[in-house]
Each structure stands twice: as C-alpha cells, then as structure tokens.
C-alpha cells in the first residue's frame, strides 16, 4: 500500500485499523512472528495434534463467515458452508504449501465451498441474479451527491448503522459483493482478492469501483437522515 493510499484512506483510521490494513509497514514488521507461530501450529496439526487446528482457525472466524455470507446471503447456509470449509481445510492441510497466507487459503476454501453449496441448492436463482447484473459492466454513475456528515467509527456501536450496512451490502450483486467483502471488509490486497476469486486484478478493480460507489449510494439516504448535512438540504436531493 502506497503512502498516497495512506494519505487518501488511512490517515484518519483508528490505530487498530491502521494495523490491520494489509501491506502496511506495521503489518510487515509484525509478520514474521505471526507467520512463524502459524507455521508452528500447522506443523503441530500435521503431527497429529488436532487441537492446534482450532487455534489456527479461530483468528479467521469472522473472515470465514463474511466470505460465506457474501455468497450465500443467508446466515444458516453461510454457517453450513463455513463448517464444511473447516473440515476441508483440516483434511487438506498437508496440501497447504505456504506460498500464500494461511488466511487466504482458508478464505479461498470457504468461497469455493459456498459457491458449491449455492450451485447445488439454488442454481437457477444464482444464475438469474448474475445474468441480471452481467450487463452492468458500463460506467457506474453515482445517484446521490448529498454531502453527508462523516459517520464516525464509534457509530458502529449502533445497531441501526450495522443493519444499514448489512442491507447495503445485501443490495450489491454477488460478484461485486464478493470483491467488496474481500478487499474492503476483510482488507485483503487486490492481488489476494484476485487469487481467491480466480479473476484478474483488473476485474477486481473494476468490480470494486462499482461496489464502493453503490455502497455509498445505498447508504447516502442515512437511516433517518441523521447523517446528512441537515434535514433541509438533504430533502433537496431526497424528496421524501
């Protein structure tokens, strides 16, 4: 991640988030220790210590769920796919070569598992949804130009905001949602997202653009107008 990115995106991030942005210097500095302990856990599992697998996977519970949910759009199905993915990761651990990060490998297995489940359970629905959005490859034009007041991260403690985010995410077509979840929710790099989804980096960037602009449009009305610049001005762009 470049210094320019930090200036554009990361400058005001809380310290905790700055640490978790993929590819930043602080992450790079912390890497060897994390990876060696992961490598240690992997060795222990391969040596027959199944319990170590729990410690290996536990830090990525949230990533596994969000990846599966991005595809299946249903908590029950996402949990089912996540549990299957954990079994697959365990039984195939000896095939993990360490050329990717373990988390990337795990999320990739989860995505594959979720896609398999989707194809099996409701193939027609998925196809039709994807077809409908396939034609949207042209430029996306923002729908809303309201200058809303910055929503601080602390507001995430409010259930209404979390619900609004979840609803906005659900409104994206699957292929945009997948990319958005990997890059912006899980904060994987463009290259990692491309590898996991088996698409080119250029495709990741194109889909990410649309996903980000659509998410902004979906959230622009606010939950009750309270994060706009004020009710009156707001009503000019949103007549209701």
């Amino acid at each position: 991640m470049s210094a320019a990115h930090n200036a554009a995106l990361g400058a005001n991030l809380p310290r905790r988030l700055q640490r978790t942005r993929v590819g930043e210097d602080s992450v790079a500095a912390a890497k060897p220790q994390v990876e060696s302990s992961e490598a240690g856990l992997i060795r222990r599992v391969l040596d027959g210590e199944a319990e170590a697998f729990y410690d290996l996977v536990r830090p990525y519970e949230r990533a596994i769920f969000s990846a599966a949910h991005a595809i299946l759009e249903n908590e029950t199905d996402a949990e089912d796919a996540a549990q299957e993915a954990v079994v697959k990761a365990y039984t195939n651990l000896s095939r993990f070569r360490g050329d990717a990060k373990f988390s990337t490998w795990l999320v990739q297995i989860t995505i594959n598992e979720a896609r398999m489940k989707l194809r099996k359970d409701r193939r027609k629905l998925y196809d039709s949804l994807d077809d409908r959005h396939e034609e949207q490859e042209g430029d996306y034009v923002p729908r809303d130009f309201a200058d809303w007041r910055e929503i601080p991260s602390e507001a995430l403690q409010k259930k209404e905001l979390r619900t609004a985010l979840a609803r906005a995410l659900a409104s994206l077509a699957p292929k945009y949602r997948e990319v958005f979840v990997l890059r912006d929710v899980q904060q994987l790099s463009i290259a990692e997202s491309a590898k996991i989804l088996s698409i080119t980096e250029a495709s990741v960037k194109t889909r990410l653009l649309r996903a980000r602009l659509q998410m902004r449009d979906a959230l622009a009305p606010g939950i009750d107008g309270s994060w706009s610049t004020g009710r009156e001005e707001y009503q000019k762009v949103r007549p209701w």
């Binding site: 969000s66 430029d139 602009l213």
Partner: protein
C-alpha cells in the same frame, strides 16, 4: 499546469484514487477537480467513509455463538476418526443474545420493551436450534407465535425443527404445579433424546390472554424453576414485557426469583435475587 478532468472520468478512477493506485499526473488532476467540484468531493468523502466503516470489525455482526458452532462438523469428522473417543460434557453454552456463554443450570431474566429487544432475546434459541440443543418455548399462544415468527426471520426452518421436536412449544394454559410437571417432563425427554443441552425460553406478558392462575401462581412457578433447572443440563431465560406487567410481578417475579439478569450490557448477577425457600415464605406470609 494541470489539465482539467471531467466528472465522469473522476468517478471511473475514484476507487483507484482511494487505493493510491494512480499516476502522479492523474492524481494531481483529480485533486484539482475535487477542490472545485462539490459533487465529486461529496462522492469521494462518502465512499472513503464507507470503506473505513466496513473495514472496522464492528461493522458487521457475526451470528452469536458462531465461533462455537464453526467446528461442529469437524468435531463430528474427528469423532468418527477417533471412533468413540469420550466427548467432553459441556458446562456452559453460548448465550446467543450476546457473545457471552452461560453456565448450564442458570435461570436468567431479560426485560424487554421494543420489538427489536424481543427479537434480540429470542436469539437465545438460535445457537441451540442451529446445533443439537432441545429448545422449549413457553408462554401464551400469541407470544409463542411471535417467538416462532422471530425465529423464522432468522432463517430457521421452524416447521422442520418442530416436527423433529428440537423446538417444542408449551402453552401457558394450566396452573403452576401442572406447568412445572410438564416442563420437567420435557426436560427429561430432551436429555433422553440425546440433546447436549436444553434451552427454555419463557415469556411473560400481561393483558393479551388471561393467566390461568393468580399473579402468585406465576411467582411460585418462577421461584421453583431455579431449583428445577439445576437438575438438568439446561438454561432458562425468562423474557418479561415491561410495558404490560404490573410492578409487583416485575419486582417479585423478575428481580427476586432470577439469579441472573441479562440486558444489552450483558449477563450480570442479580443482587435482588432471593433463594426459593425464603422467597416463598415471604410470599405466603403476605398472603
């Protein structure tokens, strides 16, 4: 000199701008554009704000108890591999409403006022229904229907779970001693069927349908449940509707018969709890 750039081109590159993935020249043109175009700078600020929010761990909820259930299939897989290796007996289960766990044998009260708070309380059953726990819902028929509706909204297949008796609905249609006997029988049936834990969700609402007994009948039932629940691998959560229940029932039933209180702040020990014997003594003395 910076060459001007159109809004359409800015929108096309806005994501790459946030990534820092642009040539210095294009970046300078966009920055010049943002300085004089309110619409594009609104789009930029909003998009940056969204990216920052969704990257925060607090942005999206993971279902309560997900971490506990994530290894469910792996354990079954390993269990088969280990051919009958002894499984540890759980001493606590995920609470479902918050991220906490709750010890088996617990009896807790949860006060609710809004529909959202009611639905949050019903989440207590979710980890159990997604796992193998026996879940019993007890209350007036209309409230039981609201519980079922809230479960359905969570994507749970209520009909299948009911048919398999993993979800059991009990009606508040008899006096306390009969109800207590029915509850105990259901707990036993759950254990015999191999459920690792029993989750009991009781609801108390006033004014929808008449109670089969007096207020004291309800209070006696609540006082006795605390002891009954400790004989089984079970947790009882009672949801009290603060909008409709009289103060006396809230005080004596809600506060004095439950060792634990659950709220959005989490699970807490209840300092107002009075052990069964002393509570019933006091209740009968007043009578």
């Amino acid at each position: 000199m910076v060459i001007e750039i159109k809004c359409e081109e800015v929108w096309r590159e806005i994501s790459n701008y946030l990534e820092g993935d642009l040539s210095r020249e294009l970046r300078a043109r966009m920055e010049a554009h943002f300085r004089q175009c309110e619409r594009c700078s609104a789009v930029l600020d909003g998009t940056r704000n969204v990216v920052r929010l969704v990257g925060d761990d607090r942005g999206f909820d993971v279902p309560p108890g997900f971490g506990h259930r994530l290894f469910g299939k792996l354990e079954a897989h390993l269990g088969k591999a280990a051919a009958g290796a002894a499984r540890p007996v759980p001493t606590e289960i995920p609470l479902g409403v918050t991220e906490e766990s709750i010890a088996l044998g617990s009896h807790a009260v949860y006060f609710w006022e809004t529909k959202q708070q009611f639905e949050d309380g019903v989440r207590f059953l979710e980890p159990g229904l997604r796992g193998r726990d026996r879940c019993i819902v007890f209350g007036h028929d209309s409230t039981n229907r609201s519980v079922v509706e809230a479960l359905r909204k969570k994507g749970l297949e209520v009909e299948r779970l009911t048919a398999q008796r993993q979800l059991v609905l009990l009606s508040r249609n008899a006096p306390a001693p009969v109800i207590l006997a029915n509850i105990t029988a259901e707990f036993k049936a759950g254990v015999q069927a191999g459920a690792p834990a029993i989750r009991f969700l009781g609801t108390l609402v006033f004014g929808i349908e008449p109670w089969p007994g007096s207020d004291n009948d309800v209070l006696e039932l609540e006082a006795k449940v605390t002891a009954a629940v400790q004989r089984f691998p079970s947790v009882v959560l009672c949801m009290y509707d603060v909008r409709t229940l009289p103060g006396r029932v809230l005080l004596k039933g809600g506060f004095q018969t439950h060792p634990l209180v659950l709220s959005s702040e989490g699970l807490r020990e209840n300092p107002y709890y009075i052990p069964e014997e002393r509570f019933l003594d006091a209740l009968h003395r007043v009578q």
